[in-house]
């Protein structure tokens, strides 16, 4: 009885309708649970050092230890927190910037658009990773949060460009004119008519920036521009590389951060896909119709088989 009630809950209906979202949410939820509830899953602190150096996974050290005797499992869990935080921080900064800049350019057009587009184009042609490298090298040993801010301030250009062109195309659609003839204010036209049509773009840009920020942060720290004392997936990879972990066969040192990055990245990407499907019902309809035709085909072959018997 209760199970049936639960089955009809809108949330479960939504999850059943969107398998991509379900898998994505499960992956993200797992990562969140493991990283935010880290003390529940490991008995060691992030900075804990044991007297056993580079031992293979066993019952005490689930993912083994590093050259310096640190527990890989504990470091992976605590390091994930920083990665998530940096990603979200960078995502918020980049999406806010790109929304404001993109919509302004697209909506007002003319000379405003000309100037902003020029700025966007300049920001786009500057290669991001080298720019980040230079900034990080100049500042020396930057903390993870600062990396997040840097990524946020350097990766808005793509989103701004997409949102600008989207605003321009929606602005000339007839329902915007119809809202104008209705007498809606400019602000309302922008935020009640144009914006909802771009929510998918904005959220997918947000999720996309999170993925990019997490990867870029790991890259920067792996190269060695991060703060070596902080515990993140990037610095873990950096330390593993520095102590020649792969050459000596200590694969477990890489397993933790790599698995974390892969699961987080694919979970967010799946959520991104389902955002696309949600905002563009045609995509979902295509998927449902494909399933319908498959079922119909199966039914036909089934009845045919029945007839021949």
């Amino acid at each position: 009885m209760t199970l049936k009630k639960l089955d009809n809950h809108p949330l479960f209906k939504f999850l059943r309708d969107n398998p991509k979202a379900t898998v994505g949410f499960i992956l993200i939820f797992t990562i969140m649970l493991l990283t935010l509830g880290a003390p529940m899953f490991t008995r060691f602190e992030a900075g804990f050092r044991s007297d056993q150096y580079r031992v293979a996974p066993n019952s005490v050290f689930i993912l083994g230890t590093t050259q310096l005797g640190r527990d890989v499992w504990a470091q992976t869990l605590y390091g994930g927190r920083t990665s998530l935080l940096v990603g979200i921080l960078a995502g918020v900064i980049a999406v806010t910037l790109s929304t404001v800049i993109g919509i302004t350019a697209g909506y007002f057009g003319g000379i405003v658009d000309g100037i902003i587009t020029m700025v966007i184009n300049i920001a786009m042609v500057i290669p991001q990773i080298p720019l980040l490298l230079i900034i990080a090298a100049l500042m020396g040993g930057v903390s993870p949060m600062l990396i997040g801010v840097l990524i946020g301030f350097t990766s808005w250009a793509w989103g701004a460009r997409v949102l600008r062109s989207q605003t321009m195309s929606i602005r000339n659609r007839e329902f915007i004119y119809s809202a104008e003839t209705l007498g809606e204010t400019k602000l309302r036209r922008l935020f009640a008519e144009v914006m909802p049509n771009m929510l998918s773009m904005m959220s997918s840009a947000f999720v996309g920036t999170i993925i990019y920020a997490i990867m870029a942060q790991a890259t920067l720290e792996y190269i060695g521009f991060g703060d070596p004392l902080s515990v993140t997936w990037g610095t873990m990879l950096y330390n593993a590389q520095n102590t020649a972990a792969l050459q000596t066969g200590a694969w477990w040192e890489l397993l933790g951060p790599c698995l974390g990055l892969i699961v987080l990245g694919s979970g967010l990407t799946l959520i991104n896909f389902s955002i696309d499907e949600l905002s563009n019902p045609k995509l979902k309809a295509q998927r449902i119709m494909a399933g319908y035709y498959k079922a119909k085909k199966a039914e036909i072959t089934y009845t045919k088989a029945g007839e021949t018997e």
């Binding site: 007839e174 119809s178 007498g183």
Partner: protein, 348 residues
């Protein structure tokens, strides 16, 4: 008969600068409308016909204040439309509305039908709660979207083209518009649905006294729905007047061409169109410097004097005006024949 003018267009000329906005290109201007004037009476339907690019939609867009005319003015109840501000503007927005050509893009895909109806009711009438809901259902029922509770919660993509156009009409009803500019409201619809929407508009016209400016390229529906007709060519009014007189006995060569180009089920073979083959068939681009009759390049009866001036309007029959150099000759012919056209009453 004493008829009240609600909307009038006086000598409207509209120029568009099509290039020359930057330093590098030569300045070129397109004249989309040239000296167009007419009145729209209360409770009547006035059809504006013409081929693509003749300025029909521009007319609508000027009336909706998307553009300001280069010369001339449009007046609503005697007041200049483009000078409204504040409360009068609000009143104008409520009373004069437009139906868009494409019902697939005139409704916001992310809002439900109820939302589209809710906004005007809140903006102009201040309805709330149960009353709002009742008014929304009333509007939906009036346009035949039943049951309203079921149709209202749908999003536009769940409705067919005809249903969308009906939903848009429901919105205009909800606003309470008196003058409706219908920019080819049926051209994107299936033939079978077209008549339904036209009948609905007819009902609004007859029962609620709404005035329509019906823009179309379909002479048959224009005759079915309208009382008067204006034939536009390249932004010029070439022939206008009573719809039956113009459609049955067209005088201007362009009107003749337009009517013979429309398929008629009673005619077995398509009539050969009388157009000169030696010139380009495109509509000539009209610039402020252009002189003469715009149709002379395609006209089968054009003469050299057509290039000099665009002739003044001649009333060839009562309530039928033509601007053509041959109009006077035709007028004398007609008065000699003195036939009496029967007026077909539209059904529905």
């Amino acid at each position: 008969m004493d008829r009240q003018i609600v909307f009038s267009i006086k000598n409207v000329t509209m120029d568009f600068q099509i290039s020359g906005k930057t330093f590098f290109s030569k300045k070129r201007t397109l004249r989309a409308l040239n000296n167009v004037s007419f009145d729209l009476y209360k409770g009547e339907s006035l059809a504006v016909v013409g081929e693509s690019g003749c300025g029909k939609s521009t007319l609508c867009r000027i009336a909706m204040r998307f553009y300001t005319p280069s010369r001339g003015e449009m007046t609503y109840n005697g007041e200049n439309v483009h000078k409204f501000k504040g409360n009068p503007l609000r009143n104008y927005r409520q009373k004069v509305q437009m139906i868009f050509q494409d019902p697939f893009s005139s409704l916001n895909p992310l809002h439900s039908i109820y939302y589209h109806l809710k906004r005007p009711l809140q903006l102009y009438h201040g309805y709330k709660g149960i009353e709002l809901k009742a008014k929304m259902n009333e509007a939906l029922e009036m346009v035949g979207l039943v049951p309203p509770e079921e149709q209202g919660i749908k999003n536009p993509h769940q409705l067919s083209g005809g249903q969308k156009q009906r939903a848009f009409l429901a919105r205009i009803l909800a606003i309470g518009a008196d003058v409706i500019f219908a920019d080819e409201p049926t051209s994107m619809l299936d033939v079978s649905i077209r008549l339904g929407v036209l009948n609905l508009m007819n009902k609004l016209k007859r029962e609620m006294g709404k005035s329509f400016l019906y823009i179309t390229h379909d002479i048959a529906t224009a005759r079915y729905f309208s009382d008067r007709i204006i034939v536009l060519y390249s932004g010029h009014m070439v022939e206008w007047g009573d719809v039956d007189k113009v459609v049955k006995h067209p005088v201007h060569p362009y009107t003749k061409l337009l009517i013979s180009a429309a398929p008629d089920p009673e005619r077995e073979t398509l009539a050969k169109l009388e157009v000169r083959d030696d010139v380009e068939k495109e509509v000539t681009m009209w610039t402020p410097e252009s002189r003469g009759c715009p149709f002379r390049n395609r006209c089968p009866v054009a003469e050299s004097r057509c290039a000099d001036d665009f002739p003044e309007a001649v009333e060839v029959k009562p309530d039928q005006f033509v601007r053509c150099i041959h109009a006077k000759e035709w007028k004398t012919e007609n008065s000699a024949a003195s036939e009496k056209p029967e007026r077909n009453q539209p059904v529905g």
